[in-house]
Symmetry: D2
Subunit: 251 residues, 4 copies
């Protein structure tokens, strides 16, 4: 604090989290520039092998995230590599719970071998969407996480079946918001509508700041499209400029 | 102790371990009668999903093993479901280490969710054989286990590259013996020779007792052939009759 | 023809087809006794690798079917080995059509290498059920078969979306009936009802004969449960005794 | 023909083939710019699903190749998606033959649905290398192709076990040469040596022309590295400038 600053008393900065999907390659293939994204975000949703992510990719992402202080989340998915986990599947609850537990445990063990650990769980793709409105699949996810570690938060949409299942299971639940998705009356505009996704970078950045100011604990940005890393970096800069601290929601 | 017995003072019984492969199904398929085997053995080498074993099967085997006090080992393998992990593969060391770490962590997390944990690691099929004579793959396995938990023993053949790698990594190593394989000068007779495998059940039982008497820490029995569970049970009974305690080598 | 029979002139025997699922193993695993079933049925729905069936199993089944004069059908499925194709999946139409084409072509090529060829196409499991009531998936299947060979019949339930799609595509469509499923007003009783499946072998046999007498072109029997092959053989015997010829519906 | 040229009579142009690997994506992932490569090459080695290539990618590549008159070859591989088919595997001969037959048939059926067909077979990655020096795997490949279509040529290195197996099976065999690999005494310099691969684009172009002039039937170019398509296009231009016709070796 130098004498020339407007206030002698420091104002506590408010933290906000930026999360993005990482490690979504397999074998020779890559989708995301993991290293570039890890320099921008504070929470990495790491693919666990069922929709993407082989063990070596998982290990490298964990090592790099640990070195940068980025929190690792288990991005659990349907067992559907060919469909990238984007196709709804009618998986029975006991199978889904075991599949989630397997993925979570595999990533957590790899993270621990790299000196860190999994801090939260987020569903991917079609499982994410199904868990928001299907109580059986939501409960299966919550049951798997509860069986592994009752302190691990789930990350998802507010007011969802997954939020309900987490509450019933006694699991922490953190609501995320999307920088690039249009909202109406507090809900996401369905993707089937023409203006569901913001295409103007300035709009994405402005919405991210507005979401942070309205108290969002975590803001999701995307890294798998051209220009996405640059846009995520612009969101980060705007949040810092607006006075927020960038920090993981799950310490 | 009845008066006719030779000694009034109890002789401490010596423990010996019986290990077998379990959980080697996938989806609708099964190879082994896991429940019947769990009533006979003391250590279960549980398939981790790469050569066999889906998460629900893994979870059920872990739950049942925990209930019976059977020790769980991670049976890690090449990623080769179609070949059941029986085909040698030239997997680079960093890939193999990550693959082993992933499998070990997944099973351990499932085991912990069921109130127990993985007590040891054993390679499966072609990886088992390769790890005995190939230092690079042996070191990759030892490195993966070391990164996960330096106290976890490896189970394998004595005087092997894997034993060497474990020693170099500071990992415990436990040598196993086979009840149904012929030995010559302390080494296994190669399977290419006609008398490599004992076909006479009485010979299998007798060899198991002889191995236990010679100090074998763990004896491997097989469960995936017709009559195998009955033979394993006969081995168990003979060991008990010979005065051994059946108990896991890794408590 | 003995004098006591009602007619001196031979009545032409009417043909009926028995179809069953075959080749539903993978790698080391098996579900069905393919050889025993091939001695009983006239049409084999052969798994093509997506829910079950590896290339060697496919080849062996084709060779044996060719030797016995059993017609080979391509049993196409969702890409879901872990779920055995029994889980509904929201697969886009172009992906599903390509998946069906791939499976059909692979099996037909293997069949041709063994001196025969694929005579019809039948969907498996959840794809079978979805194709009956979902026009998009039904059209994708019909489009794939049309692109491959316009003369190949589809086998399925009567009065279904798949029948409609086949008609629109100009594909032959053959309706099958189930020996072991209860019917009400000409429709299958849903599996959710308690009496949906006949458990009494005599009822299964009687229903098979009744279905044949009512003109069913193909009767489906099951081979993947204990006693199933014996039951299928009893159906065959009863149909022969009732004066039917057992022969493939697709010559 | 201008008056200053040495001959008034047109010299028949000699044909040469350019082959490259295509369709090496899976699900959401891509390695190669298939459309750009198809504008340059005359033969496309299309991945068949075992190391890369899902059915929709295969279908799109076949449709585009058919539209451009590019010949389609089946690029058969080990079943190893995670390793991209680059890891040697000890696959028994009957399994390998069935795997090759399955891949070849699947691609050929897709090609036929798009109005063309498979014109040749080339092994990929580790199977390519193994087939050059291992007679058992070479014979398995030749047996599979023979069982499918005795007129389909195999494409590979000259003086190899695969060439021997093709000759024994009565299959056509076409030797390819590499534009970017160093040769010594007519053999490829092993990749383990520092100058095994030409890094100078001019050297690659010059070697391609020299190979064509020495009578190579097909020249392999690579499309999976940055700048590869541009380099392949430069090779094409240089060959045309040198008076060669670019045309498939397998019409």
């Amino acid at each position: 604090m130098s004498p020339g600053q407007p206030s002698q008393r420091p104002v506590p900065r408010i933290g906000v989290d930026l999360n993005a999907d990482l490690g979504e390659g397999f074998g020779p293939w890559r989708l995301t520039d993991d290293e570039a994204l890890l320099a921008v975000i504070t929470s990495a949703n790491v693919a666990c092998g069922f929709h993407a992510g082989d063990p070596l990719i998982m290990r490298r992402v964990c090592a790099s995230a640990a070195a940068r202080g980025v929190a690792i989340g288990a991005q659990v998915a349907y067992r559907d590599l060919a469909g990238f986990g984007r196709r709804r599947m009618d998986v029975p609850g006991d199978v889904l719970a075991a599949d989630v537990l397997y993925q979570l445990a595999a990533l957590d063990g790899i993270a621990r071998a790299e000196g860190t650990r999994v801090r939260y769980v987020k569903a991917h793709g079609a499982l994410y969407n199904t868990a928001m409105d299907d109580p059986l699949q939501a409960e299966a996810i919550a049951a798997a996480v509860t069986a592994y570690d009752r302190a691990l938060p789930l990350l998802g949409l507010p007011d969802s079946e997954l939020a309900t299942a987490a509450a019933a299971a006694g699991l922490p639940y953190v609501a995320e918001a999307f920088a690039d998705r249009a909202y109406r009356d507090g809900r996401l505009v369905p993707r089937s509508e023409p203006d569901a996704v913001h295409r103007d970078p300035a709009a994405v950045v402005a919405q991210a700041v507005a979401l942070a100011e309205s108290g969002a604990a975590s803001i999701c940005v995307h890294g798998d499209t051209p220009g996405a890393v640059g846009l995520a970096a612009a969101v980060r800069t705007a949040l810092l400029d607006a006075g927020f601290d960038l920090e993981p929601f799950a310490p």
